[in-house]
Amino acid sequence: MVRPHRLEDLALVEENRPLGGQVFLLRLAAPWVAGRVQPGQFVMVGCADPLARQDDPLLLRPLGVAGKEGETISLLVRIKGRGTGWLAGRSPGEPLKVRGPLGRAFPKASGERVLLLAGGIGLPPLLLAHQLLAGQGRCLTEMILGVPDGSWKGVADYTRSLVPGLTLTSDDGSLGTRGNALSALPPEPEEVWACGPKAMLSGLVSRLPAETRVWVSLEARMGCGYGGCYGCSVPVRGGLSRACTEGPVFEGREVRWDELA
């Protein structure tokens, strides 16, 4: 009746590797997440010592899962404020509070080809999607990654090491071709899974023909992550949905983009 699994436990940092562009790769031993996480799902990570009082920063930070291997999950985190700044300073062996896996994953690919479109730090869920779809061998995936500038070289290299045929774009032309991720969109993709800035996602949805399936993963300010607080409501057709529970993956045309904060 209630959730069948425990959501929250301590994970141990296995690796913390700066990749440039204020982004770092955090690998955590979190077996209860690694065993169940699906592409598009996320975890919430505490940004204070979990063995002391965790008053400040108070809230856990929602982070998309980028990969899993055995009992380990990978996160790609961009330093944005106090919480992520604290996370950037963690060393192997340190414990972190992790809650997850949370949210609804991308649905099963309905066709044979899925295009993965990543804008900046929207990359993580698509990396996990690539890992699992490629692993199943049932579905051909291509990935486009758009980054701001050359400072993201480490992120691009890391992505290319996992996705050999990666198409790379950068706003200033210093990595891959000049332009944003959308500028590399092929003419008639069969199905697109995307995560990135709102402008990229809404632009994608408006550009695709109505018959193209498009799923987007949305970022939202979050309180609980488990469906209690309604802090992460996003406007969708017919009302409001919780990014943490009905999302973060939504059918692209269901989102009321003009009202999205």
């Binding site: 009746m1 209630v2 959730r3 069948p4 699994h5 425990r6 959501l7 929250e8 505490g46 009082r53 965790q54 008053d55 400040d56 920063p57 108070l58 809230l59 856990l60 509070k97 809650r99 300010r221 979050m222 309180g223 609980c224 488990y226 469906g227 209690g228 607080c229 309604y230 802090g231 992460c232 409501s233 009302g239 409001l240 529970t245 009202e259 904060a261």
Partner: protein, 306 residues
């Protein structure tokens, strides 16, 4: 895990622990309930319910502050009738008493809402009348501020609901003790002290307030000492049980509330940062009682009053 020394009876409602999930942080659907939180909870409060469905507030709804959280959710809920049809039966079957938090938007709605609960008493541990939501323009806090408003709303609810009636007060009341006494004199079985504190955040990038409604409710560890003072004041004025609510995020906080006179303690924002908080509080209280050589948590109640 059970803690026999933590069992309480709250105006006749038996609770396995004195901890209650506060309204606003606990999902309506039991399928979403975190099992590790439920382990330490004696009861759960529903989201704040209005007669008609409410979409909640537009714009930013959450803003983290030092050791605190401002929220302006605005009572997003499916409406009382949908709740009674779809959520309450499932919630009631999940093994904890359900406290139904009602947030009427007019005095006339108080009676109309409570009439809808008739015949459902077996599924309802208590009604928590919310006279304290700071994030809506009608009802709520506007009544809770004055003893007359509290008395009027409580009296209307009492006349329409024979079951247990809790009244959740607002810290914006200039004299919480007076508000608590007004609730007791008008028929409340329990007073809850209290709710979020009115605050504001400024968005420096947009050079305007963060929240569309300008003000929002502050919760979390930052408000704990303020809440403890309110519980002290309320417990000094009433003979009915006082339930503490506001910033509890450790067993020490819960113990302090009980020492000040609280019979039970709600946890809200504390769950956001630690799903195991209720269980940890139970373990801490259990150890504390043993250290003091008390057999029951009720022996601790009010022990700190001088």
């Amino acid at each position: 895990m059970s803690w026999p020394d933590l069992e309480i009876s709250l105006s006749g409602l038996e609770l396995a622990t004195p901890l209650i999930a506060a309204s606003g942080v606990w999902p309506l659907s039991p399928g979403l309930w975190p099992r590790e939180s439920l382990a330490g909870l004696g009861a759960v409060c529903s989201k704040g319910l209005t007669l008609k469905p409410r979409p909640g507030n537009p714009g930013i709804r959450l803003w983290e502050t030092p050791s605190g959280l401002l929220n302006s959710i605005g009572l997003q809920n499916p409406g009382l009738e949908v709740f009674l049809d779809q959520d309450l039966p499932q919630m009631a079957a999940a093994g904890r008493p359900i406290i139904v938090n009602l947030a009427p938007e007019s005095q006339e709605e108080i009676g109309r809402m409570l009439v809808l609960l008739a015949g459902r008493a077996d599924q309802i541990g208590a009604v928590e009348l919310n006279l304290s939501c700071p994030n809506v323009s009608r009802g709520g806090m506007a009544w809770g501020i004055s003893p007359q408003g509290v008395a009027r709303a409580t009296g209307l609810a009492r006349a329409a609901w024979p079951g247990r009636l809790w009244v959740k007060l607002t810290p914006q009341a200039p004299d919480l003790g007076e508000a608590a006494r007004a609730a007791e004199e008008s028929g409340a079985d329990v007073v809850v002290a209290a709710n979020t504190w009115l605050g504001l955040a400024m968005d420096l990038e947009r050079t305007r307030p963060v929240f569309d409604r300008v003000t929002a409710g502050l919760s979390g560890p930052a408000i704990f000492p303020l809440s403890l003072r309110l519980v002290w004041e309320a417990a000094g004025e009433v003979t009915i049980p006082v339930v503490a609510s506001g910033g509890v995020s450790s067993w020490e906080d819960a113990a302090a509330m009980i020492l000040a006179g609280a019979a039970a303690v709600e946890v809200g924002t504390g769950l956001l940062s630690d799903l195991s908080l209720p269980e940890k509080i139970c373990q801490g209280l259990d150890r504390y009682l043993k250290k003091l050589n008390y057999d029951s948590i009720s022996e601790l109640k009010g022990k700190g009053r001088i």
